[in-house]
Amino acid sequence: MTTLHILNASPVHASQLNSCLRVLSVEDAVVLCGEAVQALRIGSEAAKQLQACDRAYRLYALEEDVCARAIDLADLPVTLLDYPAFVALCVEYARVNSWT
């Protein structure tokens, strides 16, 4: 049974990303929203962390947050979501863990 993890805090300012990547299970998914989309910036340490995770996971980000912040996307297999897609994702995964 897989988990959808939702991150919303800056990867530099907060420990959500570090901790999430440690407790992620294979086949889990991560949704970046709010300031957490900073982790998609090409060349950033956070993007490298996302790339380096040793377990296979699916990566998503809320499109409105990516667009708002002028992000040059790193080379990561990220799928951008609108709200209907976000809801559909929550249905697909057995549990939703919103990191705050």
Partner: protein, 119 residues
């Protein structure tokens, strides 16, 4: 079928209401006999330290609430090993009994619950 909850508590005890309000969720589950376990992670591990002196901050001692948890039927407390280590706390005695888990044990733990709630 009764659904179970894993509460992940990440806030330091004296950094605002977060830690106490997370514990209140656990106590409420216990009062209704619902299955809930707590995993202390990140700054949340600091809630478990012994010899804290909250009275110097004119704060209520949270350890009374922590010690009340088994009385409410909340017996499973877990603490993230890497978070203790990050804070130089591996050697410290915890004020409340909690099982220390490594990353892969935490991955497995999460998969055992119907809901995960992180505060």
């Amino acid at each position: 079928m009764i659904k179970s909850v894993l509460l992940i508590s990440r806030q330091a005890p004296w950094a605002g209401l977060g830690a106490a309000e997370a514990l209140d969720i656990a106590l409420a589950a216990g009062a209704f006999d619902l299955p809930l376990s707590i995993l202390f992670m990140d700054d949340g591990v600091l809630q478990l330290l012994d010899k804290q002196q909250p009275q110097t901050l004119e704060q209520k001692d949270l350890s009374a609430n922590l010690q009340a948890l088994p009385l409410f039927g909340i017996e499973q407390l877990y603490v993230a090993q890497h978070c203790l280590a990050q804070r130089g706390l591996d050697h410290r005695t915890l004020a409340v009994a909690a099982e220390v888990l490594d990353d892969s044990q935490i991955q497995q733990l999460i998969r055992q619950y119907d809901y995960v709630m992180t505060l």
